[in-house]
Each structure stands twice: as structure tokens, then as C-alpha cells.
Symmetry: D2
Subunit: 222 residues, 4 copies
């Protein structure tokens, strides 16, 4: 179906100059995998772009796989991202690097997290694509930093912030946005139900928050 659409576009382009769409690939874990579903954050970004009459300017591609850590992204970067010649790559990773420490014993060392992240950036830059980075939002929505993985999530978010700074890349600080939102709307200090339905994966409100933050950044790109 996608290919038919692209064929039609190709045929049309004989008749007049088709403006080049900005191809954006969202690269991440299960949160991004679900992002392309109805109501998912990538679907909502598409809706937001249409509401502002900018749907012709962008092409959205989801490249999320459940359970992915930073080195999973690294290992499939060429095949799932660079081979598709994106103009922009949105990287949204970190939850499983922390979470898998306690659930499988196979989380990611902080220094290795940084090394693989940086190695990915080098390859994406070399391919000429722009990059938008995100911090991992939450594993638990309690606001008093008593979600079990809060310490590590804050530490890995600090690493991501530092990488963004060093590489002078735009950062969507979802960790901060989610905390700010919960401080306003989660007065009962609940661990889920505000922006997620299960402490990690986004509910409608969570998808909207991520979509808005990303769309604001994306629409300003060129």
C-alpha cells in the first residue's frame, strides 16, 4: 500500500515539481513501536501536522522494537534507519537499558550506554541526517522519586543530556516534561494512570504530550 502510494507520487512528479518531503524516522523501543498505532504518538504527530496544513512536508516512519536497548538500536541502525535515507532521526531509548538490570540482569553499563549512543550519532551524522534526542520518560509516575528505577533513570537521562550538549543536538527532555506534568496532575503520587497505563507505556494523555513536544521541534526543522 505504501509502495503504491509512492508509485503514484512518482508518476505525479512527472507533471509538476513535487516538493521533497522531510523523511522522519522514529527509532526506539516498545513505546515507539506502539507510536504508529491509532492514537500512538507518531500517529498524533501526523494529526498535528495535518491540523497545521503541513502534511505535505513530512513523511513519518516508525522504527521501534519492543525491549530494545541502546545497543539493539546500534546493531540495527544501518538496516532499519540509514538504509531508508532519513532526513531526521528521532532517538528515544533508555528505559530498557535501566529496566533490564532488574528484570533480566542484562541492563546497560552507563559508560557503554554513552559509547553506543555516541557511535550511533556518528553514523547518523555521517549519513547526513539530522538528529533529535529524547530522555526516557518514566518507569513509574510517582513524583517523590520513589519509583524503584528513578535513580538510574535520572542518571541515564543525565548522560543523554550531556551527549546532546556535547554534540549540540536538540533534546526533547521527556523525563523532565513527564515529571513536571505529574507534579501538577498526580497529587496522589500514583505510579501509573496519569501519562502511562502500566508505569511505562503511554496512555492517550502521554502520547499527546510526547507528540506535542516532538511536533514543536519537528516543525521548526528547516
Amino acid at each position: 500500500m505504501k509502495y503504491v502510494f509512492m508509485l503514484v507520487l512518482s508518476v505525479m512528479s512527472f507533471g509538476f515539481q513535487q516538493p521533497q518531503k522531510t523523511r522522519v524516522i522514529f527509532f526506539g523501543d516498545s513505546i515507539t513501536q506502539m507510536g504508529v498505532e491509532k492514537g500512538g504518538y507518531i500517529s498524533l504527530i501526523d494529526s498535528l501536522s495535518r491540523a497545521e496544513g503541513q502534511q505535505e512536508k513530512f513523511e513519518w516512519i516508525g522504527a521501534g522494537i519492543g525491549g530494545n536497548k541502546v545497543y539493539d538500536l546500534y546493531l540495527r541502525l544501518q538496516k532499519d534507519v540509514l538504509s531508508k535515507k532519513p532526513d531526521v532521526v528521532v532517538i528515544y531509548v533508555g528505559v530498557n537499558d535501566v529496566w533490564h538490570k532488574s528484570s533480566f540482569g542484562t541492563g546497560t553499563d552507563p559508560d557503554k550506554f554513552e559509547k553506543f549512543y555516541q557511535a550511533m550519532l556518528e553514523q547518523i551524522k555521517a549519513a547526513g541526517a539530522k538528529i533529535i534526542m529524547c530522555t526516557p520518560a518514566v518507569i513509574g509516575e510517582k513524583t517523590d522519586f520513589s519509583n524503584p528505577q528513578d535513580g538510574d533513570l535520572n542518571a541515564y537521562s543525565n548522560i543523554i543530556r550531556q551527549i546532546a550538549k556535547t554534540n549540540q543536538l536538540p533534546l526533547i527532555d521527556l523525563r523532565k516534561s513527564f515529571l513536571d506534568y505529574n507534579l501538577r496532575h498526580n497529587k496522589e503520587n500514583k505510579d501509573r494512570g496519569i501519562l502511562t497505563y502500566d508505569r511505562v507505556h503511554l496512555n492517550a494523555q502521554g502520547n499527546l504530550l510526547v507528540a506535542q513536544q516532538l511536533w514543536n521541534q519537528l516543525k521548526s526543522i528547516k
Copy 2:
């Protein structure tokens, strides 16, 4: 040597009415094990009591063993504490219940932490001793909650606070005191060197802070 001293006391007590000393047992992990050393927090409590001329009123006994979790305390409660007929038991535990999750895979489930803690309290109460509870101070002194175990330490401290409330027991909230102190004195967000020398075990300043907090509570007993 202790026994000689007690023998002397016994002999002396024939001559006049010796006031009964309040026997305080400090029950915990390596932090408490080191507390009886020179400069340790228990030694400092003894010094503080002497400075206020109250050394005759108290007897201090350290019962800390490195690596202990709440159920280690539970398993040796009778032998190491109750058999010594304490008047007061200071319980200072929780660091290893959290830490051993990542270092050995044998941390303590939160609900089991609560159950064993409560079971200990029942036995100590039944033996007629008073109880003072403490929250675990720190595994890392960073103030932005980016020490890897911060989430869990906050969660287990919340459990301890709730147990203290339910049982109407005095709580020395070291977790809070250490954070407050670090917010004032650890402007560089270092993970050690302010109140600990290795992220966990107390340096001179840390021992003094714990000693002061506990002494303030202890001297008001009876």
C-alpha cells in the same frame, strides 16, 4: 574487661543504690558494625553523653554485622538482642535490602521487608524494650536523585516511615537528614566525600550527624 567492669559495679552496688543504666542496643549492618570503632557513631554518642554528664545513665552495645538485611536481623534478633535484655533497641537497616538486588540478586521484596520488620517489632515490644527506627541514609550522595539506588532507597524509606507511624514509634529519618545536609554542603553533586567516604559508609562528618540525631532522641527517653 567489660565483665570486670560489671563485676566492680556489682560489688559497688552493695554499698549504695546504683541507678539502673538504660541499656541501648544498636542493631544493624556494616554501618552499625563500624559504629563502635573509634570515631564511629556509637562511640560518638558515648562522647556526647559524657559531654552532657549523662554517661552513668546509659550502656551502649553495638550489634551490627556487615551485609545484613532485614531478615538477617530477624534471624538473629533473639540471640544478639533480646537475650541481652535491652531497654532500647535502635534499628538501622535497609541499605543492603536495596543494594543486594543489583550486587547479588538477593535484595528484599518491599512487602517482605515490611513483614520481617513488623515481625521484629512485635518480638521487641513483647520483650518490653523501647524501639527507635532509622531510615537508610544513602547509597551515593548526589542530590539530584541520580544515584542508581535512589528510587528504591526512597521507596524503602517510605515503608519504614509508614511502619513507624503505624506502630507509633520514634523515627530518626537519616535519609531526609542526609539529603538536607547534602543540599547545603554538596554543591558539586558528588557521590561521596560529604557524609560518606565510599557512597555508603560514614566518614567523620557522617558519624557525627548520625550520633547527634540519635543522641537527641536517646537522651529524652524516660
Copy 3:
């Protein structure tokens, strides 16, 4: 329904001398929790006893709770076992003590496994009940010891064998029986499908194997 039956029994016992049934409580984790279901190992033991005309001699009670480790059993021993005045307690535990190391970070230290197991035995003995011990069968059915938890399962089974020996208690060595069975019937070195359906929980053949081993021991009691 159980109470109605017991009421009927009580009424009947006015008329003639009812022989005392041997009350057997199966104490364990999810494997035992499922044991009382249709086709479960406890249900099969009941069937085996009926096939041999011994149903009047025994009363079977399941006391399994999913996720239980040795200290979960310890904590609910009085309430779920001793208060019911069993004649025999079958203890079948160990899988979660090993498994939770990697899946939650809250497995059981080997020395604590032994201490809580021994503490349970003391209380059951003091209550006058007989005890049958079991080793944990499998987490994965591969026969070349390449199931990830094989090392620990063997180590904890060794601890249980030693406890049984020291306490001179009968041991149903399921770990050994399952391996023997798999060596004969699992030539493809599969990790499930021979005696379990999911590497841990018993399929029909697994339930039958456990039932037969336990019934052989149980029917010789008294």
C-alpha cells in the same frame, strides 16, 4: 462445600467410630498452587490413592501460593499450615529462590535459604507433624546443564539434600527424577514440553511424575 462434607463427617461420627484420616498439607509455590487443579499433582495423588482403595486414609490440602520463596513459606507457616493441624507437611520450594535473582533481584542467599528452611522444620516438628521434603525440579528441561539457572538449582538442591540428611527426613529428589526422565525422553535437548509446558510448570506428564513419587512416599507413612 468442604465444610458441608466435614459437617456430614462429624454427624456420621456420632454413629460409629470414624477412622482418623491422615491430613497432608502440600506447602509450596505456584507449582503446588496448580497442584489442586484438575490434573494437578495433588489431584492425581488423590486419584492414585483411590485406585489403591486408600482414599479413606488421607485428606489432601493444597497450600501453594505463586511466587513463594522459602521465607514466604516461613512467614505463613503458622497461619496456612500449623493452624490446620496437619499430620504430614510436604515442602516443595526453591524455584523462586533461584529464579527471582534474575527476574526481580530478590532471590534468596544460599545461607539464608538454609536458615529459613531449618527454622520451618523446627516449627513443624514441634507441632508434631511428619515432614517430606522435595528438591526443586527444573527451570528449563535441557539435559546438558545449559539452562541458565541450572548451576543455582543444583546448588540449592544440594542444600536441601543436606538439610534432609541432617534432619533425617525423607526426600523426594524431583531435581534428579526430572533429569533422569529427560535424559531418557528429551533427546533433542529441548527446554520445555517434556515434563513442563513453560520450563517450570508441570504438564500432564510432569504432574504424574510428581504425583507418583510423592504417593509412593505418602502411602508408606504410618
Copy 4:
């Protein structure tokens, strides 16, 4: 000192045709890091080559770093190995991929272990070097597979054996050799002291066993 020696070699090579030495790089973790020490397995390989009058044929380079897992090797492959233009690369890794699961929560997923290993092989092959693979020997020397990590070590050794087979590369199966040796010499089922001094790192006998196995393979190269 090494550089002086190489300078001398260079000067000498003006006078007559210096035979090209086979440059062997040992790539691994702390076991290999210690291999270059006096009595270490790499030093012993050098001794064995001298005893057989073959010292002129080989140049030995240690490239072991403590704590390294397969993706640590991958990340430093170019800098520490390929840039030195080796003729042969001996890869000896796997202990930390398993061990760090329980000691840090950051072990390596089996599928990722395979992917990074294979990715390394591709790069080394592309550089034209020969490869010798090793299985990880032991974490504990007990022979009844009751060392806690035995299951995983067997599983990861199976992965390495499969990779060697698929890539048609020579394999030094240290896991098997160590078990065979312990079955003959460790009748008391001790966890250390036969081929290691601490369950993992090689004692004199362990270094000799590894050296002999590797030398037998190395001297047959070319």
C-alpha cells in the same frame, strides 16, 4: 624497551632478510590481562615457543582488559587489535557476559552475545587476520554443575561452539578442558584451587593448561 627492541630489529633488517613474525593478539578480559604477567598464560606460550625453538616465528601481544564483555571487545576492536595489524587474533571472552548479570545487572543477552561476536569476526576476517576462539573456562570449579553460573556458562559456551562451527574457525574449548581436568583432579568438588585461585582467575596450573592448549593450536598455524 619494546620500542628499542623493535628499533634494533629494524636496523638489523638492513643487513639480511628478517623472516616475518606471525603477530598474535590475545583479546579478552582480566584473565588475558593477567596473561602477560610472569607466569601468565601468554608468558607461558612464549616459553613453550622458545622451548621448541620457535620464538623467532611469533610475536605475542596481550590485549586484555578487566571486566570486558563481548561488546567491550567490539567497541575497542579497531583501536586495540586491528590497528596493530595482527596475523592471528585469539578471542577469549564470556565470563563477564554471564557474571555481570548477578554482580551488576549488566550481563549480555544471549542473542546479543552472538551478534556482537559475529560482528567482531566479520571485521577481523575483513582485515585478513586468522581467528582462534575460546570458550569461557569457569566461574567456580565444582564438577557437579552446582557453581551458580554453570547453566549460563554452558549456554554461552554452546553459543560460542555454534559460532565457531558456522564460521569454520578453530575452537579451544576451555570450558570442556577445565571440566575434564577437574573431573580427574578435583575429587573433593571444591570451587577453587585446582586451576584457579578465586573460582575465575588462573593459578599456575590453570595458566599452563590454557597455554598448552593454545600453543598446540598456534604452532600449527601456517
